[in-house]
């Protein structure tokens, strides 16, 4: 069997090493991409993101042509996995950096989590994701725990396939066509995380 080839978009925002190692653990060949002009040897794209929305958007647009990025996603239909701020960047705007636009791939705004009672923000640690549909290793309406570390959220919308709740409900997984995005860190979520990455690879096989 041919090895699956993963391209991780590297734009100096976050921990791509763990993501790389997780895919290698699953038998994939991983390239770290400094540009996306030539994707001949790539089957899957990963957009990571740790840090502030503003920093990530700035770094991404500095190093990558956003029009080529969009063409790759929409026209060439590359399977894309977006993680944490990578997911948030798919929207229009974020309260974290209101002066900057997101990638406008989905029509959502990223909000700061509301404060509520004694619940702490940032939302750090293991929390349940309830799947709204069967998703390979994950059963509809069942709970699975994943590792989160964030203060900003995407609210529930029609593309949400995984839902979580801290001070309020939010989308922990969104999916539309070739794009899969998660707010948690699959590369840090032990067995469930590995199964999530496998699902991404199998789903778009």
């Amino acid at each position: 069997m041919l090895k699956k080839k993963i391209g991780i978009i590297s734009y100096k925002a976050g921990n791509i090493y763990s993501i790389q190692k997780s895919f290698e653990y699953l038998g994939c060949e991983v390239s770290i991409l400094q540009n996306i002009n030539n994707l001949k040897n790539i089957n899957y794209l990963v957009l990571p993101g740790v840090g502030s929305f503003g920093h990530c958007v700035k770094q991404l647009s500095k190093n990558f042509s956003l029009s080529i990025f969009k063409k790759t996603i929409f026209k060439d239909q590359f399977p894309l996995l977006c993680i944490c701020v990578g997911m948030q960047m798919l929207g229009n705007l974020s309260q974290e950096s209101p002066e900057l636009n997101g990638l406008n791939i989905f029509n959502f705004t990223v909000f700061k989590m509301k404060e509520k009672n004694h619940l702490k923000i940032p939302h750090v640690g293991w929390n349940d994701v309830i799947f709204k549909k069967n998703f390979k290793y994950f059963k509809k309406n069942h709970k699975y725990d994943f590792y989160f570390d964030h203060s900003y959220i995407v609210k529930e919308d029609k593309f949400c396939i995984g839902l979580s709740e801290h001070t309020e409900k939010f989308s922990s997984i969104i999916q539309n066509k070739n794009i899969l995005a998660c707010q948690f860190h699959p590369e840090k979520s032990q067995e469930n995380g590995i199964n999530f990455l496998k699902t991404f690879l199998d789903f778009y096989a």
Partner: protein, 261 residues
């Protein structure tokens, strides 16, 4: 619902007397002074991972440490290529470039300690660049005659300030998580400092992790029940006791505390 966390802590020290050669080992401490070698850090981390620890704290605790030293880098990369769980790494972090170095090589969060006394604004800079969620402020304290002092491990002195207002100031700069360690209880099996855990966790908005003094599973249960701490960290407890995280976890679960199965 967000789960409470059990967090083994790995202290890393160089135990090689030969010049220019490092042998980084995992050790435990007593009052952060007496150190005892336990073994290979990555093997130990793998054991914790298989025992379903929620997260790991890795602290390089040699004096005058250069976190970017090649041997440290090798070890950090070994951790992050073999351990698929959240890692908080710290020890000698002094600059934004140290943050960048750790985050690029596998840390999910960076713990800072002595630099906050010299340059607290580093919290602000790091939070702006990397987000508050990865800026972990680690504070060592001691309690004497019912009074709590912050301990500066680098200068070996105490700060006579009010702990809560000091912490609130650091949070206003953008700290995303707190690790509080009671130095007097470190390695002493004397139980966690419930009073301080309660005072801080109930009065701040960010997650608090308490450490120092865990001796039996009951210590975890008591602290989770009586305070709002999000996590409890322990070094000695997980490395020398017969109790591993799985056993501790099931005892905690039996007391109806919300943790991962």
């Amino acid at each position: 619902m967000l789960k409470r966390r059990l967090i083994p802590k790995l202290l890393i020290k160089n135990f090689n007397n030969k010049k220019n050669k490092k042998n980084l080992v995992f050790c435990t401490s007593e009052n952060f002074k007496k150190f005892r070698i336990v073994g290979d850090p990555v093997s130990q981390a793998k054991i914790y991972e298989s025992q379903k620890a929620d997260e790991l704290i890795i602290l390089f605790c040699d004096k005058k440490i250069n976190i970017k030293h090649l041997e440290n880098l090798k070890l950090i990369k070994k951790f992050s290529s073999q351990i698929f769980m959240p890692l908080t790494i710290g020890g000698g972090v002094k600059s934004i470039s140290d943050f960048e170095f750790l985050l690029e090589n596998g840390a999910d969060k960076v713990s800072i300690n002595s630099i906050i006394f010299e340059r607290p604004k580093i919290i602000n800079e790091a939070a702006k660049k990397f987000g508050s969620q990865c800026v972990v402020v680690s504070i060592d304290f001691i309690e004497e005659k019912k009074k709590v002092f912050i301990y500066n491990n680098k200068k070996k002195n105490y700060l006579r300030v009010d702990l809560l207002s000091y912490i609130r100031k650091l949070i206003s700069y953008g700290a995303g998580e707190l690790i509080l360690t009671d130095i007097n209880r470190d390695g002493k099996n004397s139980g966690l400092n419930i009073e301080v855990a309660k005072l801080i966790s109930e009065n701040v908005k960010i997650p608090t992790i308490i450490s120092g003094g865990c001796s039996v599973a009951e210590d975890f249960i008591k602290c989770f029940n009586q305070t709002e701490v999000q996590g409890i960290s322990a070094g000695n407890f997980f490395s020398f006791k017969d109790q591993n995280p799985i056993q501790t976890r099931s005892q905690i679960r039996n007391s109806k505390i919300n943790i991962r199965i």
